[in-house]
């Protein structure tokens, strides 16, 4: 661990977890800088939820360790737990309580509970009119918003939200994300939110952690990723033209054109244009274009990055 990572709210080293005969986490090294919102993405079943539960101390690693707010996750004391916020994928709540009782029950456990934030979220999430209803009777969307509300009103230092907008329609999705993002902007909360659809959460994250096959295959600043990658199109490229510079991340061959996604800039482009006597058109790479680059390369696939489109 470097000195800089010491103050990171999450620092995992060699995190390994065997779960029901499978290796759910395979030696994860991961650290999350303070005050950032990280999108935890990856295919279904890749280990996102397991990783979150381990960070919360709800699962105990087989090997390695996770420091959560500087304390070993499975040994978190009450003071540290009070600084965490968590929304489970199934947004577990107490079904037999009324919405208001549920909120008061959780508020009671948190000395830092902020009634201004509570009032704000009740209004934004349209939950005021269901305060007297039983939690168990709520539709999934309202139930999920309630789970987000009770995870944020104590203004946690670190909030882990597992698929926090999966049950929301597009309108509430942006409302919920805006309120989640507000905690980062107002309080400097460190946020980790997972989704298997990056586009759903893109509006409020500034970092991306990709989990694939129980491993963290990328953990980067989103702006940096966008800045360093470009889509290059070489119009009029002949079938013989092949570009295998080390910065090429993927190749698509269209009739009469070659499209490359590269981690390169101006200097490399000029050199390539000179070398092959071609003109390269530069475009930014959208988030969907970046996604595949962050996945673990399939075993033994070093040979070819090329696909024929």
């Amino acid at each position: 661990m470097n000195a800089q990572a010491m103050n990171h709210p999450i620092v995992a080293t060699g995190l390994t977890l065997h779960l029901g005969g499978t290796q759910a986490l395979r030696g994860i090294d991961w650290s999350v800088p303070p005050g950032t919102a990280t999108g935890l993405i990856g295919p279904n079943g890749s280990g996102k939820s397991t990783l979150m539960h381990t960070v919360m101390g709800l699962l105990v690693p087989t090997a390695g360790q996770c420091l959560t707010l500087g304390q070993e996750a499975q040994l978190l004391d009450d003071d540290h737990k009070a600084r965490l916020g968590f929304v489970d994928q199934n947004f577990r709540l107490l079904d037999w309580l009324s919405v208001e009782q549920q909120i008061r029950f959780i508020a009671m456990m948190h000395p830092r509970w902020d009634s201004t934030v509570e009032a704000r979220l009740l209004d934004a999430f349209d939950l005021e009119r269901v305060l007297q209803k039983a939690v168990g009777s709520l539709p999934q969307g309202e139930r999920q918003r309630l789970a987000v509300l009770v995870a944020l009103c104590h203004r946690p230092d670190l909030a882990l939200l597992d698929e926090p907008v999966s049950a929301q329609d597009p309108i509430f999705r942006s409302v919920v994300l805006e309120e989640i993002g507000r905690r980062v902007i107002e309080d400097g909360t460190t946020l980790v939110l997972s989704s298997h659809v990056l586009r759903d959460i893109e509006s409020c994250v500034d970092r991306i952690t990709m989990v694939d096959g129980g491993q963290v295959t990328a953990n980067e600043d989103l702006d940096t990723l966008k800045e360093e990658h470009q889509r290059w199109t070489i119009v009029g490229a002949t079938a013989e033209l092949s570009v295998n510079e080390p910065y090429v991340r993927s190749v698509e061959r269209h009739p009469g054109a070659l499209t490359l996604v590269v981690r390169a800039g101006e200097a490399e482009r000029r050199a390539l244009e000179k070398k092959h006597g071609v003109i390269v058109e530069v475009r930014p790479v959208g988030i969907e274009g970046l996604f595949p680059l962050l996945l673990a390369p399939p075993a033994g696939s070093d040979a070819s990055k090329e696909v024929v489109a």
Binding site: G35, G181, I185, C204, D206, D223, R231, R283
Partner: protein
């Protein structure tokens, strides 16, 4: 007093968020819609308005300072730098070149000759002259 900045952030764009901020503030400062000495919002205030992490705003302000577009003053709001006054013409040409870059890509892709492209640009400028836009509008 800080004035609201007219910034549009597209989170789905392939352009980094901080880069979008830098480009738009620099354009408005060069075009004069942001006057010299204009006070800029704090990173937190602008962050709340745009839904962007204050650290990202701070990164953009840092880059704008490096480019000489704004001045950072400890404990006081950042302001649009006076340095722009001396370099106005060169900055305006830089902005124009950046704005025309997508047109260059289109011209190459369509295989249009330089002469035809310049004539098309002249036509567009002429027809635009007959319907002047409000001077503050930076985008077509």
């Amino acid at each position: 007093m800080t004035i609201p900045l007219h910034i549009q952030i597209d989170r789905h764009s392939g352009l980094p968020v901080y880069r979008q901020l830098v480009d738009q503030v620099r354009f408005q400062a060069t075009a004069g819609t942001l006057e010299i000495g204009t006070e800029l919002p704090s990173t937190r205030a602008l962050g709340l308005e745009l839904g962007v992490n204050p650290m990202t705003i701070s990164k953009a302000y840092g880059e704008l300072e490096r480019l000489g577009v704004i001045e950072r003053r400890p404990g006081k709001p950042n302001v649009v730098s006076a340095r722009l006054a001396g370099t106005g013409a060169a900055d305006a040409e830089d902005e124009l070149r950046r704005a025309l870059q997508p047109a260059v890509v289109a011209i190459r892709q369509l295989g249009v000759t330089t002469g035809d492209a310049l004539r098309a640009l002249e036509d567009l400028l002429e027809s635009d002259d007959q319907e002047p836009r409000s001077p503050g509008d930076p985008t077509p």
